[in-house]
Each structure stands twice: as structure tokens, then as C-alpha cells.
């Protein structure tokens, strides 16, 4: 069989539908003519090589992307909190004071609460911007309608506002609430903060604010003991006046 005489399909000027005319590139031809190619003008083999190369290129990259998507789906969601948070709690906490608004929050405000049960509910996030299918987007969305129950005990004689955000795991798994720090290095830390599981009831989050604690905003992290993951934040505002170093506006 002589390969030269075998019929071959013609080279096609276009092989894809045009779905959006406003982004159409180039003229009806598609791939631009190669400058300096040694092929004679009108030499169909040059066109062949070009369109085959482009098709081959698309094939390789599309295959690659599909493999990547499959692999990504198989892996668990990428976690927001890195494994090394617990090691660098101090550093991160200071920044957290500035960046608290980046986290989802259901803010529960209490005034002079002692004992009593508090119920925190994580609400569904509104995904704005580009809600692509990538797992990155999952960092913002919290499960809808789940209730995380904790009992909040605040021991103080000052006027305080306590805000808590907890992932569901915090209430059920061993977690440590780190001391609350202020952005101002001079102010002492709030060390009497603890999260204890309570058999037969919701976990107990206890915050003690000494009488002589300077006014300001104090923030701290709740870190899962086993996975060293960030599972919550605690924010305490002491004093009547709103603090200037409070959260940045929520990004759109």
C-alpha cells in the first residue's frame, strides 16, 4: 500500500464553535500564519503541521488538566489552617487582630454574662466574586445550618464584649484556647481562657478578665490539639469606647 496515494482528510480552517463573538481572535482563519516558515506559500503540509501541533497541544494540556481535576477531587479539601499554626501562635495572633474580619464570624455579643448557655450557629457564606469549582473556594463556605453549642462563662466585673467563632469540631474535640493578646505589646495577656469539654453537656468556654486589665481588644486562637488546626477565634473587647484597631472592612 503506497502511503502517498492514500486519501487524507483536508486541513480544516476551523474546528471549534465560536461561542462568544466578542472574544474572537483573529480573522476567520484562526491560527496566525507563521512568519519565516520554510514552507512554500500554500504548501498544505505546513498547514497540516500547524493545525496538528495545535490540536496536539490542546490534547496534552487538556489531558493534564483533567487528571489534575480528578486528583483534586480525590484529596480532601485543602485546609485553611496550616499545620504550623500552633508553633507560631504568637506571630499569627498579632496579625489575626488585624485580619479578623477575613474570617467568617457569627458574632455573639454578651454583656456581663456569667453562666448560661450560648449557642453559636455557623451560617452559610455568601460566595461572591468567582465561585469556581476549585477547592480554594471552599475555604469561605461554612456548613449550612449547623449548630455548635458551647457554654460561655465570663467572669469579670468590667464591661466586656465577647465574640466567639468556633468550627463544629471545637465543641467536640480536644482543643486549646490560647491566651488572648492585644495588638499593643505592652498590655498584659488574658491568660485565664480555657475550653473544657464537659461530660454530658456542651463544652465550656471560660474567660476571666481581671479588674485591672487595660481597656482594649484582645484576641486569641482556639487550636485543635490533634491536628494542630485553627478551629476558632475568641475576641474580647474591654472598655466602653470602640477600639480603633478593630477589624478591616469585609472584603467584597
Amino acid at each position: 500500500m503506497n502511503g502517498d496515494q492514500r486519501f487524507r482528510r483536508p486541513a480544516l480552517p476551523r474546528s471549534q464553535p465560536i461561542r462568544n463573538w466578542s472574544t474572537l481572535f483573529g480573522g476567520p482563519a484562526g491560527a496566525p500564519a507563521p512568519p519565516g516558515a520554510s514552507g512554500r506559500p500554500g504548501d498544505a503540509s505546513v498547514g497540516d503541521a500547524i493545525s496538528r501541533s495545535v490540536a496536539l497541544g490542546y490534547r496534552v494540556v487538556d489531558e493534564y488538566l483533567q487528571q489534575g481535576q480528578r486528583a483534586a477531587q480525590r484529596l480532601a479539601d485543602r485546609s485553611y489552617g496550616p499545620a504550623n499554626v500552633a508553633h507560631d501562635v504568637q506571630d499569627v495572633t498579632a496579625r489575626m487582630v488585624r485580619y479578623t474580619s477575613e474570617l467568617l464570624a457569627t458574632w455573639v455579643d454578651f454583656l456581663q454574662v456569667s453562666g448560661g448557655a450560648a449557642e453559636t450557629r455557623s451560617t452559610a457564606a455568601e460566595t461572591n466574586g468567582a465561585p469556581g469549582a476549585s477547592p480554594d473556594g471552599a475555604a469561605y463556605a461554612a456548613p449550612v445550618g449547623q449548630a455548635t453549642r458551647v457554654r460561655l462563662e465570663v467572669v469579670t466585673s468590667r464591661v466586656v464584649t465577647v465574640s466567639v467563632e468556633l468550627a463544629p469540631e471545637a465543641a467536640t474535640r480536644p482543643a486549646t484556647a490560647h491566651a488572648l493578646r492585644s495588638a499593643d505589646q505592652d498590655k498584659p495577656r488574658l491568660t485565664e481562657v480555657s475550653l473544657r469539654p464537659d461530660a454530658g453537656g456542651p463544652a465550656v468556654l471560660r474567660v476571666c478578665v481581671p479588674d485591672d486589665q487595660p481597656a482594649g481588644v484582645y484576641s486569641g486562637l482556639v487550636v485543635d490539639d490533634e491536628a494542630s488546626r485553627l478551629v476558632g477565634t475568641i475576641n474580647v473587647r474591654i472598655g466602653g469606647s470602640p477600639d480603633d484597631e478593630r477589624s478591616r472592612p469585609t472584603p467584597p
Binding site: P34, I50, Q69, R95, S134, D136
Partner: protein
């Protein structure tokens, strides 16, 4: 479209990156065997395509150059780390007009220097926390980890071919290797990170993979073509470093495909020799065979085709963005990749 836009921006962004890079290359102890050498490759210059693409993409998406600068520096550090190690692995003699690091200082020292560059790159990436915030810095770090993984895998493919003396490779194999080894850190990662910083949203970044792949592949293939042909014009002598290394370029793959059986046997013998034993006469013969079968022209056509596809993908990708100088720069890159020498 101004024809010197690309060189101008490359120089501009390149200089900014170099200045920031110097902060990480400050001499400390031990100097003689480490930090002086660490600064060697970065100081030798280079086109700075990668950091420029990163900065330009970030700006095209609305960020400032400063926000992306640290990531660009990190990339350049990692790039130089790869170069140092690649030169060792490929047993190359020359890099950017001067002897390779391991040729001067020996392989053990060179490997360590490469490691140090990686460490500096990681440090730069963690420094992103200050400018970008923790969340975004983590995303960039994850991107970098992914990119490094792909580069390593790509290099493994290529090394494997050389080690096993692979003779029956296809264009698809080559493109897959280039995608992983070169495109990820040359074009895909800078674009993705630039977009990430610019929009501050982790979003579907897959669309940059296609654009980056076509651009990077065209870039690499054209590089390989110039390696064979450019030297004559510039140095007045044939250098053909890739041929001496037995690097599986698109041209070599095409030659292996087209050759007659007796020619392929001779090629196979040539490729299976260790580098010091290869002779100039054989290298000349390979060049001549490539010319006879039109392999170089074929590779050039493929590079053109891929550049055209890159331009198409680029237009689709950046369509919604305002027409800025940076967007024009990016759109001009496919053309520049082909036209440079």
C-alpha cells in the same frame, strides 16, 4: 502596538526584581563556599521573563507591583536553584556565557548552593505574609509547592529518557515533559500567582494552565532551536550544547522518528555514550541529519503553532480586563517568544 514594549517592561520589572533580590543575597558567613556562590547565577543576568510575567499579571488584575514583588523574587531564586541543579544533572559546561557552577567549584559544592537557593526562595515565600496576609501567602506557598513538584516530575521524565536512552518518543511525550518541567515555573506559576495576588481570590486558576503551557512550550522549543542555530550567528561557531548533552528536544525526537534504521542505530549508539566520549564528528553528523530531514524547520513550525494558540488563549483569558500596558505586554509575549534571538 509598540515593538519594544516587551523588552522595555522586561528590563523595568527585571531591575525591580533584581534590586529586591539583592536583599536575600546579602553576604553572610560562610561566604566563600556558600553565600558568594549563591549570588553567582542570579548575578549573571537573564531575561527575567518569569518575574516580569508575574508582576505584569498582578498589575493587569489590579494589584500593585510591590504586592507581587516578593513572589517574583521567590520565583527567581527557585529558578536559579533549578538551573544550578539542572546543570549538574545535565553535565553542562556552560551557562549564560560562563562555565557552570559545578565546573568551577565541583559538584558537591554546587549541589549545596542549589539547596541554599531553594531555602532562600522558601523564605521569600513566607515573607509574603507581611504584604499579602496569611491566607493569600499560604495560597501562594501552595502554588509554589505544586509548581516545584511539577518541575521535579518533569525533570524526572527527561532524566529518565536519557538514562534509558529512549528512542521512540512522541511529540505528545515531549509536550507533556515541557508542560511539567518548564511551563509550570516559567509561565504557569507566574501567571497564576499574579492573578491570585491581583484578585485576592482563590479562584479557578486552571485557565492559566492552557495559556502558560502554550506560551512556555513555544518558548522552550524556540530556545532549543536557537541553541542549534543561534550560536552560529552570535559566536561564529557551532556550539550545539543540547546535542552534546543528548537532550531530547523536539528536533531530536523528530529525527529519531524519521531516520532510517541504520541511521537510528548510529544515533542510538551516539546517545548511549557518556558525554565525555562523544565526538565532534558525531555531533556534526547529527546536525546534518536534522537538516536533511527538516527537523529544525518542523520544530519552528510547531513553536509558531503553539505561540498562535497561546495568543488565542491569552485573548480569551484577559478579555474582561482593562486595556493596560501590562495586558498588552502579556498579549505581546507569544510574538516576542518567537521573534527574539
Amino acid at each position: 502596538m509598540t515593538s519594544d514594549l516587551v523588552p522595555r517592561l522586561l528590563e523595568d520589572y527585571g531591575n525591580r526584581t533584581r534590586v529586591a533580590l539583592c536583599e536575600y543575597l546579602r553576604p553572610r558567613a560562610p561566604q566563600r563556599h556558600l553565600y558568594n556562590l549563591v549570588a553567582d547565577y542570579p548575578r549573571r543576568g537573564g531575561r527575567m521573563l518569569r518575574p516580569s510575567l508575574c508582576l505584569a499579571t498582578a498589575r493587569a488584575f489590579g494589584a500593585s507591583a510591590d504586592e507581587a514583588l516578593t513572589s517574583a523574587v521567590a520565583l527567581e531564586l527557585l529558578h536559579n536553584a533549578f538551573l544550578v541543579h539542572d546543570d549538574v544533572e545535565d553535565e553542562s559546561d556552560e551557562r549564560r556565557g560562563r562555565p557552570t557552577l559545578h565546573a568551577i567549584h565541583g559538584v558537591p559544592v554546587a549541589i549545596n548552593v542549589g539547596d541554599a537557593l531553594v531555602v532562600l526562595g522558601i523564605r521569600a515565600l513566607t515573607d509574603n505574609r507581611r504584604t499579602l496576609g496569611t491566607r493569600l501567602a499560604l495560597c501562594v506557598l501552595e502554588e509554589a509547592a505544586h509548581m516545584a513538584c511539577e518541575s521535579v516530575e518533569g525533570q524526572a521524565l527527561e532524566l529518565g529518557w536519557r538514562r534509558d536512552n529512549a528512542l521512540y518518543l512522541t511529540d505528545a511525550d515531549y509536550l507533556e515533559m515541557v508542560l511539567k518541567k518548564t511551563c509550570w515555573y516559567t509561565t504557569i506559576f507566574p501567571s497564576r500567582v499574579g492573578a491570585l495576588i491581583g484578585t485576592r481570590e482563590p479562584q479557578s486558576l486552571d485557565r492559566f494552565v492552557r495559556f502558560g503551557f502554550f506560551l512556555g512550550a513555544a518558548f522552550q522549543i524556540q530556545d532549543d532551536v536557537l541553541n542549534l542555530q543561534g550560536d552560529e550567528a552570535r559566536y561564529g561557531k557551532e556550539s550545539s550544547g543540547d546535542l552534546w548533552e543528548g537532550k531530547r528536544t523536539l528536533m531530536l525526537i523528530a529525527l529519531l522518528r524519521a531516520a532510517r534504521d541504520d541511521e537510528r542505530t548510529r544515533l542510538s549508539a551516539f546517545l548511549s555514550l557518556p558525554r565525555p566520549e562523544r565526538r565532534a564528528a558525531d555531533v556534526r553528523w547529527v546536525r546534518e541529519r536534522m537538516a536533511a530531514y527538516g527537523c529544525v524547520d518542523y520544530a519552528r513550525q510547531v513553536a509558531h503553532a503553539l505561540a498562535g494558540a497561546a495568543r488565542h488563549e491569552c485573548t480569551a483569558l484577559y478579555a474582561g480586563l482593562p486595556r493596560t500596558r501590562d495586558r498588552e505586554f502579556i498579549e505581546a509575549l507569544p510574538g516576542w517568544v518567537l521573534a527574539r534571538n
